[in-house]
């Protein structure tokens, strides 16, 4: 194994490993733009120039591999390569490259959305000059080019690292982007007649080290330093990508993928990202309500339960049709099981397997519910794909539907029959985060927190368990389903675990033996793979 010396550190590397990855491993900071662990090496930006002993000029650390020297030619008697990242030559190289990159770079950081998470800013601060020697008019290129449905390109800010181009070639294998023109006029563009329209296009915005690529949805919304972040999980398919919710004043402004090699690598799909837009359009109701002939009446959470209990005495809820959802967290499922045993006559419940589209080779899954595997694990049956819900309701007097908008998800041909079946019920209870079309047909509506408003655990199709986090505070009357169950059982005069994630996670632990010795800390930040994983 070759022995490498970087600055003062010695490190043994595999033959062929690059200087940059070795440096990253031992915590030495080498600035870079074009290098990305998931992409091929380009050596494009020249930012990672280091001094290598014996080399006539500085070499790019990202593309210089360490190889063994014959024993008699070892440097200083034992090293195969001696690298300096802080020597005068390396420093000068870094400073000069930065100056070169900034020659035509506009100084519009106050406008630029990348400001605050911009590597150009950071490296200028750490490695660059404080002033510019360039006294001439900067080269102006096209700005605000819509290269895709969700991506806007600004050629002036671009430093031509080609990360986005390589992403499209190597990860999505769609290859929409290329570099056109030469020298200082070079810019990224799509091939004529094409758009950057692959389902992962916004990932190019994530990997862009500067503000050249911006996402249309987040563009100019908020400066990044005002954002509050929560590390959570995407609820949009059974992949369950690790994501970060960036919020400001209670609004989710964007979702960004977190690195998680076992689940999503570095990426996430555009559909998942656009959750931030879909959240805004949800028809929310913040109070539980009861519908009578006169229409809906809404109550505070505390006032609701006694009235609800009165209603239950009149109606029969002993063997309801129970439709639960793969959108529920494990805690909510545990709560449902408890509720079913104590108040629903042991109704088993069925988790709907809503599916659409096709699995793709990268991330996107056909199953649109994140926690179906968890439902199986908790002993809740999962239906076949897109079942006929009206059939499930047959011969039932009452129904409980949790977190599913069955009316919206029903196929057009089945919709009328379903609505009729729902209307025929004596008692329909809908618990959901939005006041959906299904909820409008209900007799009782219980508002739940949305996925991003609560803590919970979820298991993806590979059996990978992750914890979601509360990105924004929900209004007081919106509760997770498990807290609603706590209140329900308390109002019914029964024994129930106290409200709150911690108490219900303990219930989940009882149900999943593999979790018994795990604490919440073990689930962070990337979750754990459960041994009895499916497929």
């Amino acid at each position: 194994m070759p022995l490498l010396k970087i600055d003062d550190q010695e490190i043994e590397v595999k033959a062929g490993e690059t200087v940059l990855s070795a440096a990253l491993r031992c915590g030495i900071a080498i600035p870079y733009y074009c290098y990305h662990p998931a992409l091929s090496i380009a050596g494009q930006c020249r930012m990672c120039l280091v001094e290598v002993k014996g080399a006539p000029k500085p070499l790019t650390a990202c593309s210089t591999a360490v190889t063994s020297l014959p024993p008699d030619k070892k440097m200083d008697g034992k090293y195969d390569m001696v690298v300096s990242t802080k020597s005068e030559i390396a420093r000068k190289a870094q400073r000069s490259v930065l100056e070169f990159l900034l020659l035509n770079h506009p100084l519009d950081c106050p406008i630029c959305d990348q400001a605050g998470e911009c590597q150009l800013q950071e490296y200028s601060y750490t490695y660059g000059n404080s002033s510019s020697r360039f006294d001439f008019e900067k080269i102006h290129g096209p700005k605000r080019v819509e290269i895709g449905a969700h991506v806007v390109y600004d050629s002036e800010r671009c430093i031509k690292c080609t990360r986005c181009i390589r992403f499209c070639e190597e990860i999505t294998k769609t290859g929409e982007l290329t570099l056109v023109e030469r020298g200082a006029h070079a810019r990224v563009d799509t091939f004529p007649g094409r758009k950057l329209d692959n389902p992962y296009s916004v990932c190019t915005v994530d990997i862009c080290p500067v503000g050249a690529l911006t996402s249309k949805e987040f563009r100019f919304k908020e400066r990044v330093w005002f954002l509050q972040s929560a590390n959570s999980v995407c609820p949009e398919c059974s992949r369950g990508c690790s994501v970060r919710y960036d919020t400001y004043k209670g609004d989710v402004l964007r979702l960004v993928p977190r690195e998680n090699p076992e689940v999503n690598g570095f990426w996430m799909c555009d559909y998942g990202r656009l959750l931030s837009e879909r959240i805004k359009e949800l028809p929310r109701r913040d109070r539980p309500g009861i519908r009578t002939e006169k229409g809906w009446t809404f109550y505070t959470f505390e006032a609701f339960w006694p009235i609800f209990m009165e209603k239950l005495k009149k109606e029969d809820l002993s063997s309801p049709a129970a439709i639960v959802s793969g959108r529920m967290t494990l805690e909510e499922m545990a709560a449902y099981k408890l509720l079913a045993g104590k108040a629903l006559g042991g109704a088993a419940g069925v988790a709907l397997n809503v599916a659409s589209g096709q699995d793709d080779s990268l991330l996107i899954r056909r199953e649109r519910r994140p926690n179906l595997y968890g439902a199986r694990m908790m002993g809740i049956g999962v239906s076949e794909e897109n079942p006929d819900v009206a059939a499930l309701l047959k011969n039932k007097r009452s129904a409980l539907i949790i977190r599913e908008d069955v009316v919206k998800d029903a196929a057009e041909s089945q919709k009328a029959a379903l609505v009729k079946a729902l209307q025929g019920l004596g008692l329909l209870i809908v618990a959901d985060d939005a006041f959906t079309a299904t909820a409008e047909l209900a007799h009782v509506y219980i508002p739940l927190t949305a996925w991003h408003e609560m803590e919970g655990t979820t298991v993806n199709f590979k059996g990978h368990l992750q914890k979601t986090a509360r990105a924004v505070m929900p209004p007081r009357n919106r509760k997770p389903f498990h807290d609603a169950v706590s209140a329900w059982l308390a109002a019914a005069g029964g024994q129930a675990p106290e409200a709150g994630f911690a108490a219900w996670f303990a219930e989940v632990k009882k149900a999943v033996p593999e979790l018994a010795d795990k604490s919440l800390r073990d689930l962070l930040p990337r979750g754990i793979k459960l041994k009895e994983a499916a497929p």
Partner: protein, 169 residues
Amino acid sequence: MKLQRPKLTWWERTYFPAILQGLAITFRHIPRIKKRVTLEYPEVRWELPKKYRGAPVLLTGLDGHEKCTSCKLCQFICPPRAINIVAGETDLAKEKFPREFTIDMGLCIFCGYCQEVCPVEAIWLKDEYELADYDRTRLIYTKEELLARGRKPPYLPGKEKPLTEGDKP
């Protein structure tokens, strides 16, 4: 540090000479009618120093649009968080503009950090200081009010004219 106390005589220690001295000093000031320093405010006004920090206003650029590019540095730096900006996209060269720009003058402490930090000199602390109002909600200045305050009196909303080169706020 040990403070050296002056040695006092018996007479001085009775406080009387000092008290009489003090009484004499205050009494001497009573007849100095010519030297009163009171400024009788609504009629007589204080001559403001040039760098006086009064009400913050928004300035208009030569193109007739507000200079502000909605970078929110002022919102970030504002110690009492009086400034609130909602950004928007515009077709102008500056790309970004403040869709809403409010300053809550009930919170503003006239520190001038916003003026200091503004990269485009869009916000300025003007020499206005009579800002009181009977209604707290009226103390939240909107973008239009701030821009109107930033122009000189003839350029009120409704009769806007682009400022010329000679005009300085």
